[in-house]
Symmetry: C2
């Protein structure tokens, strides 16, 4: 069955791979599932046709025959459950891998999103400069705990899993802040993720979309 | 196999059911799985024994024989997958229910957490009063979209599922802000959740812990 995902017609991250379609592309590449991409403009994302697919007017979405999903976490878990390669066979190990996926999305990412909000949406506010260190320290609190747990291991729990895919994707958003480099084992975790052939293909694919949009805008 | 979860020895929410163990208690009550609770103090949560169970030093955790999980979303999904009652039988409907669980945790909850941070941790800051409306409006953006999708339906996608359980649990945190009541169909969704016998048992159980801790403190 053909898999169709949506992505930004022109990603606001300038092709750095931080838009959430990269996470889905990466998962699809890891399991070897071909996919098609439908690009949507910012305007189209808020129109009824796209809102019917994604009630919050975002990307990515996932269509496979009659099934339509939104939410990156749900899409990536769906891919991991239906194909080999992203979840261990052992039931307990599988539950732990899924735990790391939730930890990435619901414990590590929220303070990182707050930091993005503070730097992108509130940088012109009078409190911006004084408040930023507070927000950065909330990110550090989480990273310190994550770093302590990871220790010298290559991945979060045994072999590479969907939990690592999601954690690396979340941590990638921190690179430009410099905070990631304060935790060398986490920076190394991210580097191991980026070195995977599947990630490289996913990154190249999203960059190609951005590069094409740039050429069109010229 | 005995299920053991952890909860606050003395919940900072004063027994209002907003601590995350309530979500796990609710799921266990919905599927009829008995459970035991181990209470942990704020101090114990940051000690090595608890950090071995939960790397971020929080509650709840979940133990079942050799399996140890953390992250409320992962725990609730695990319960829903292993027992009947929280996920539809149809594979597509099941994936959509899980989608709503992720939407609750990763799209709706983050701005609600930001609002909690703004009111609890930054209320003494010079920017607090001026910044609060911005944060509240980010919550409204999400709720408006969620309200539009829910429409007149009882639940988010067909019958009650783990997606509704998680969304109601997330929205409950907004009640004291007054924002929930701006969206009558969302307030009604929350009321339907709270009216479920399983929720009532979960709420009563967490309140009993808080009440006992109060007596002890007297």
């Amino acid at each position: 069955m053909t898999v169709i995902i949506t992505a930004f017609e022109r990603s606001p991250d300038g092709g750095r791979g931080l838009a959430r379609d990269t996470r889905v592309r990466w998962a699809l590449e890891e399991v070897g599932q071909p996919y098609e991409v439908r690009l949507v403009s910012f305007r189209a994302m808020k129109q009824p046709a796209h809102l019917a697919l994604h009630p919050f007017g975002q990307i990515p979405t996932y269509e496979e025959g009659d099934l339509a999903l939104f939410e990156t976490g749900a899409i990536v878990l769906h891919i991991a459950e239906r194909h080999a390669g992203l979840l261990p066979d052992d039931a307990d190990a599988r539950a732990r891998a899924i735990t790391w996926m939730f930890a990435a999305l619901n414990t590590v990412e929220p303070p990182i999103l707050e930091l993005a909000t503070a730097t992108l949406l509130e940088s012109d506010k009078p409190w911006s400069k004084e408040r930023l260190p507070l927000v950065e320290d909330r990110v550090r609190d989480r990273l310190k705990q994550l770093s302590a747990r990871l220790g010298n291991a290559d991945w979060l729990d045994g072999g590479f899993s969907v939990g690592d895919l999601m954690m690396v994707s979340v941590l990638l958003r921190l690179r430009s802040s410099g905070i990631l480099d304060e935790y060398p084992n986490l920076a190394a975790l991210v580097a191991r993720g980026e070195a995977r052939p599947a990630y490289k293909r996913a990154f190249a694919a999203q960059l190609a979309v951005y590069t094409a949009s740039e050429r069109q805008a010229d």
